[in-house]
């Protein structure tokens, strides 16, 4: 009896201290970024979670392949599917993609109330938001960049030698930059909207509603306005800001006419992204955890 009492241990249920290396905040943020990037594509999840992102990416790829084939075979450019016009023409597919994946990133954690688990790690609330946003931007950029690259390969290898290939390359680079701009703006808006609802279905509907409803607003202003008003009208829709900015930076199709207001469109895009990111950070500082 006395022996047992002297060991001093009533229950040893096997808890052990972690004695390995502590990887710190930077590693935690990077892990969250990688994890979120995988979430966008449904990797590490069931097949059902992969259907939507991969089918949208697949449709974009098929369209790019067809455009490249038409260009190579018949030597005609489809103006709506040039490198810089590609994301704008297919923006409805991007909206659908964001409606599917932004709620996966934001709403799911809110619904399952796992934010306290994240924030008890050496990861700040701002880190959480920025890692998620960066992952979404990367994923959307990738989904756009792959079709563009396929189109570039098709263009570069369809004859006309090295100068033709170089010409394709100088067209391809602005297209890539434009795709990244699209990814940044659309992701920031979509993630903010998705973070407002813990229910994925509501969040998905809200994302699409915001994009769909702002488009007719600029359509209406185009109809009723004066010349100046018409050139400013696209500022009132998210996709309008993006296509105005594209026309100012890279030429692209004539629609929408923006006159000399190009810098204003650039400013609007910057303000939109900054505002959405700031609101996201604010939202996650306040959100109950």
């Amino acid at each position: 009896m006395a022996d047992v009492a002297n060991t001093g241990t009533i229950h040893d249920i096997g808890y052990q201290r972690y004695t390995g290396q502590r990887l710190g905040r930077g590693h935690a943020v990077r892990s969250l970024y990688v994890y979120s990037f995988r979430t966008v594509f449904g990797m590490g999840r069931s097949a059902k979670a992969k259907i939507f992102p991969f089918s949208v990416a697949g449709i974009l790829l098929v369209i790019a392949v067809v455009a490249a084939a038409v260009k190579a075979q018949f030597k005609v450019e489809i103006p709506q599917l040039s490198y810089v016009d590609f994301p704008g023409t297919l923006s409805f597919l991007l909206v659908l993609l964001l409606a599917a994946v932004a709620p996966e990133l934001a709403s799911r954690d809110l619904r399952n109330k796992v934010l306290p688990l994240y924030f008890s790690r050496p990861i700040g609330r701002d880190d959480y938001v920025l890692a998620k946003l960066a992952a979404l931007v990367t994923a959307v950029s990738l989904i756009l960049a792959v079709p563009l690259f396929v189109m570039f390969l098709g263009g570069a290898f369809s004859g006309s030698g090295l100068s033709g290939a170089w010409g394709q390359f100088t067209d391809f680079l602005p297209g890539l930059l434009n795709a990244v701009i699209y990814a940044i703006v659309l992701s920031a808006v979509a993630l903010l909207i998705a973070s407002l609802s813990s229910r994925r279905t509501i969040a998905a509907g809200a994302v699409v509603a915001v994009f769909l409803v702002t488009t007719p607003i600029s359509g209406v202003l185009q109809v009723v306005g004066t010349e100046t008003m018409r050139q400013l009208a696209s500022l009132f829709s998210i996709t309008g800001i993006l296509s105005g900015l594209r026309n100012w930076l890279f030429g692209g199709s004539a629609e929408p006419a923006i006159g000399s207001f190009g810098p204003l469109y650039a400013g609007a895009a910057v303000v939109l992204v900054a505002l959405c990111t700031a609101l996201l950070v604010y939202r996650y500082r306040k959100v109950a955890s």
Partner: protein
């Protein structure tokens, strides 16, 4: 006394259950997220007032605001959000079990919930459509649009209630249907109009209003038949699906 309280009261086949209706209505409107239904109609009426105050050409106003925003966006989105949540949100919350275990025919449960979804969608969309039509052109245009979109709400609701029972991610599939099938293919491939609720609604609105500003895209008979077939067919499938509905936990 004791025997009557243990034996279920004899009753005929009913299609509507007021208790389920009131529970559904409360679940739909009694929460914060019902506020989501307010902005869409407000924007519709606001834009109509804007185009009317700027004396824009009625043709443009009708095609951009009333058809482009009202019929093509506000109506299907409202019906989608409401239609998928009358049953979908109860499945998510797990409260559907309490209704399914009651000694009620599944048909009665489903039709009641469908009716609530359709009526709420119809009211939320038809009232702003009436106002918008009135502001932009005339009362007859408003009435035509309101009646057309109310019929559309009944068709869409049947479609989306069924989708919420068949597919786990019904909202996304519904959005894809609205954006890709009705939005994109409906305008590119003329043949898809036979299977596009949006086109039926435009046809009904054009026919009822008699306004030269609205052009019906198809024949009225085809629109009536297709809308009826679609509504009844999807409801039959939905009832059948609810009969063998199994409640599973949320996966991925």
């Amino acid at each position: 006394m004791t025997s009557s309280s243990t034996v279920a009261p004899a009753r005929g086949a009913r299609l509507f259950n007021p208790t389920i209706a009131s529970i559904t209505l409360r679940g739909l409107l009694g929460r914060k997220r019902s506020l989501l239904l307010i902005p869409l109609p407000l924007i519709l009426v606001g834009l109509s007032a804007l185009v009317a105050s700027r004396h824009a050409s009625p043709e443009h106003s009708v095609s951009v605001v009333l058809v482009g925003l009202g019929i093509a966006v506000v109506l299907p989105l409202t019906a989608l959000i409401i239609g998928t949540s009358v049953i979908g949100s109860e499945v998510d919350d797990g409260t559907i079990v309490h209704i399914l275990t009651k000694p009620l025919p599944r048909r009665e449960i489903l039709l009641t919930k469908y009716l609530v979804a359709a009526v709420v969608s119809a009211v939320v969309v038809a009232v702003p459509m009436l106002l918008s039509g009135l502001i932009i052109d005339s009362l007859s245009l408003g009435v035509g649009l309101a009646v057309g979109s109310a019929i559309g709400a009944f068709v869409y609701s049947a479609l989306f209630v069924m989708a919420s029972l068949l597919i786990r991610r019904a909202v996304l599939v519904g959005l894809a249907y609205i954006l890709l099938w009705e939005g994109l293919l409906g305008n590119l491939l003329d043949g898809t109009k036979v299977l596009s609720v949006q086109k039926y609604v435009t046809e009904f609105a054009a026919e009822i209003s008699g306004s030269p500003l609205l052009h019906g895209p198809m024949s009225l008979v085809v629109a009536i038949v297709m809308a009826a077939v679609l509504t009844v067919g999807t409801l039959v499938v939905a009832v059948d699906r609810l009969r063998s509905f199994s409640v599973a936990g949320e996966t991925s």
